[in-house]
Amino acid sequence: MSRRLAQGGLINRARPLRFVVDGQEYTGFEGDTLASAMLGAGVQRVGDSIRHGRPRGIFGARWEEPNAMVRLLAPLREPMVPATVVDLVDGLEAVTLSGRGVLAPSPRDRRDAVHAHAETLVIGAGQAGLAAAERAAGAGQRVILVDDRATPGGAIPSPDAADRVAALAGREHVTVLPRTAVIGLYDDGYAIAIERRDTGHAGAEVRRVWRIRAASIVIATGTIDRPYAFDNNDLPGIMLLGAAHEYLARAAVLVADAPVISTAHDGSYETVDALARAGARLPAVVDARDEVSSDARSVCDRHSIPLKLGTVITSAHGDRRVEAVSTSDGDRLPCDGVLLSAARAPQAALASHVGIPLAYERAVAALVPDGETDRVRVIGSAAGEGLPEAAELWCAPDAEHAYVDLSRDSTVADIDVALDAGLRSVEHIKRFTTIGTGPDQGRTSGLLAAGIVAERLGRPVGDVGVPRSRPPVIPVSFADLAGRRTGDLADPVRRTALHSRHVERGAIFEDVGQWKRPRYFPRGGEAMGEAVRRECIAARTDVAMMDASTLGIIEVTGPDAGPFLDRMYTNRLSTLGIGRVRYTMMCGLDGMVTDDGTVMCIDDEHFRVSTTTGGAAAVLDAMELWLQTEWPELRVHLTSTTDHWATIALVGPRSRDVLQTLTPDTDLSAAAFEFMRWRRAQVAGIDAVVSRVSFSGELAFEIHVPWWAAARVWDALAEHDVTPYGTETMHVLRAEKGFVIVGQDTDGTVTPIDLGYGWIVSNKKGDFIGKRSLARPDTRRPDRPQLVGLLTEPPALLDEGAALVDADGSLLGHVTSSYDSAAVGRPIALALVRGGHARMGATVTAPTDGVSCRIVDPVFYDPEGRRRDG
């Protein structure tokens, strides 16, 4: 049984700490991990295994732990973490898990992130890492030294480790980060680390993500032990030898009184010596080799430990924990523990993130990093320095119920099934058996599986390959990565200048990109359909207004602004003339519609372009690309002013009367202010730009005012009983007129001609983007999907996206827009239908709804355009 020794270790015995595991209270010390405190209290058993429900015990000392998963309840709540990396704090509460965590309802603890830069980042504060950090600091470099443990020095700290780290931390340009794990290395010296600040920082953030850019990165992450497989090798009490040594050296915990030690290299005998000196009575050391060094032999002689050479453990025995082992020489040894080290395993997974290969070295039976990059190198034992030569020991003869991956409950038999199924690559066997896919990332199982596969196939280990490591190297919670960017801070929210007005009116909002836009304004418990119907009727028969401030606005200025726009857009804009507005469309080089909007000619060298709400950034990017890469000779400047202008669309037969009341100095009559013109005017005492454009077919005005003045104009309009409407009503009104929404009625495969917008493509002006592609045979095919209107018979509301088929059941296209229309008196729809322009009057079927539809012109309402002048 494991127990705490009366003296020794790095724990602070003056600071006892109470903790609770599975409802039972225990006492540990400052400096313990949860695992060492449990072992010190005689608790070795943890949760049963995930698939087979077998009893399991603490197996490792750090992130290699496959069994001892716990859920933390207090003080920090964490769904699943190995007990071996949890620093003990007073009042800690945990429950053991069987391989599956339980999410906390919501992470309420504060988490943070910082960016840091350094000449040298050193990962690991063992012997090699400390020396590297001291060298770099001595050369005057900015140094960041991160170490996963709470105290430095590696698994078995040297007596001076703490002082050396304290000296380093006292230097001006050195940052020492204990309890910090690098989770991945990326391009150009970029590293992400997570600092666990659960202890000693009560009340502050519990996790801190470090995003580090370093000119050079030194990996000094040391080694762990690799086990081998034998029957019942998963019983509690069976542990890695190095872990037992770490518990002894750091926590003064003896993990067993009478452990059998099994190894295949000389490096284990230092631990044999340490355990014996601490009072363990070792029944035997079982070494797979026929010869050991004289030093190793003398350790056994000194402590009178029987040394079994050329021998391996074939089976462990015990009911709920290990009580004896059988060995290959036919012996049976009573014991209360088994400590394993078939070989030392460099922990160099981080190196493989940046492309440094890990090569199998037969002499040390381990994967060793092979080479370095211009920024990253591995040093010390992680690089294979000083590794003891080892015999290849993977699996006891005739083992069947021998576990390869304790975390996934995968056995040698599982590997045999995979091999019988014909799998040969370790990567395939990994996917078949799930070996190496657990939260321990296969630290103790990856190479072991490769070794067993190689042995069974009679091939060298290097030939079967080894599973590749990818970031993150330790489990990372999403809450840690999200940091403070949760809830309202998850993504920026853009609100218009009129947002508070919409909230007061009870608007239901929808997200359009990052914008919050009112979708409709329900009154007195109206459902959406009722509210939209009322808003539509107000726009068609009275007066209504919408906040259109989210449309993108780009000021295009300079002597060549007009010719530039002629090249960017499909119609001619350079000849527009001051005071005029024109609707326009933008295509990609492939001739497909990418955006639409209006262009106002402010003066000969100034055009104001509007874009779709979602397309504003992409249009600006496209304009910049062409200006900078292809047409640097054009004297044009681009400025995004989306956030400078507030835009109110005022729509309906009474819109002129209302606006005229607020605009006494300007004649708004049809004769004085024609359709598709703009002018400056004082609206409610505010300098405004008013244009006569209409996205509904009704008499309408667009009022542009500076952002700060928007509420004043909106309120003045509201005093005239103007009905506010949202995006849903806007969609219905435009669909009644057959106006498309780019991104809804188009999908990147639709030309202006497909939409029936051929009139917007100029044949007279010179080249423009997309022109040549519109002359390709494919874009001129008569059977392309083309925009049509649909009327269901009998009237029914189609689903947007519904497929449309002909009488034979052949797919013809799909519904792009579908609404119930008060103005038309029935549901209407727009659709893309193959060869649709030539199918007017034909019938198609929406099979999912079982509805017949007649193909009609997409302009359902006022096709003569008589309503736009009021």
């Binding site: 990326y186 391009d187 150009d188 010296g189 970029y190 850019r213 492309g355 211009d374 080089l589 492939d590 990017d621 910049e624 690309l625 900078q628 890469t629 292809e630 640097p632 000779e633 080249d767 022109k771 040549r772 592609s773 002359a775 390709r776 045979p777």
Partner: protein
């Protein structure tokens, strides 16, 4: 997370940039002088070398400038960055 040296702003994290694909694929002086195959080639076909490739990137979250990035597609190393040629200069 590449570290990319904007010729105007200096080294910045990759997230500030967008990649605009292969550089030096010039817009034909007269697209209608190209037959459909040639035009299709210009539109859709790009080099895909295993090794150095000149690309155009834009510092979208910075100065909004397009510039040239020489990137090794095998090692993912940025070999060099430079400004776009001035009007009349060769790439």
């Amino acid at each position: 997370m590449l570290l990319i040296e904007c010729p105007w702003c200096g080294p910045r994290d990759e997230i500030e940039f967008v990649c605009g694909g292969q550089a030096g694929v010039s817009y034909p002086p007269d697209p209608f002088a190209l037959d459909d195959d040639e035009w299709g080639h210009y539109l859709f076909v790009r080099d895909n070398p295993a090794g150095p490739l000149a690309e155009q990137w834009c510092h979208t979250a910075g100065c909004r400038s397009w510039f040239i990035v020489e990137r090794d597609t095998l090692t993912q190393h940025v070999l060099a960055t430079r400004k776009l040629p001035e009007a009349g200069e060769e790439l």
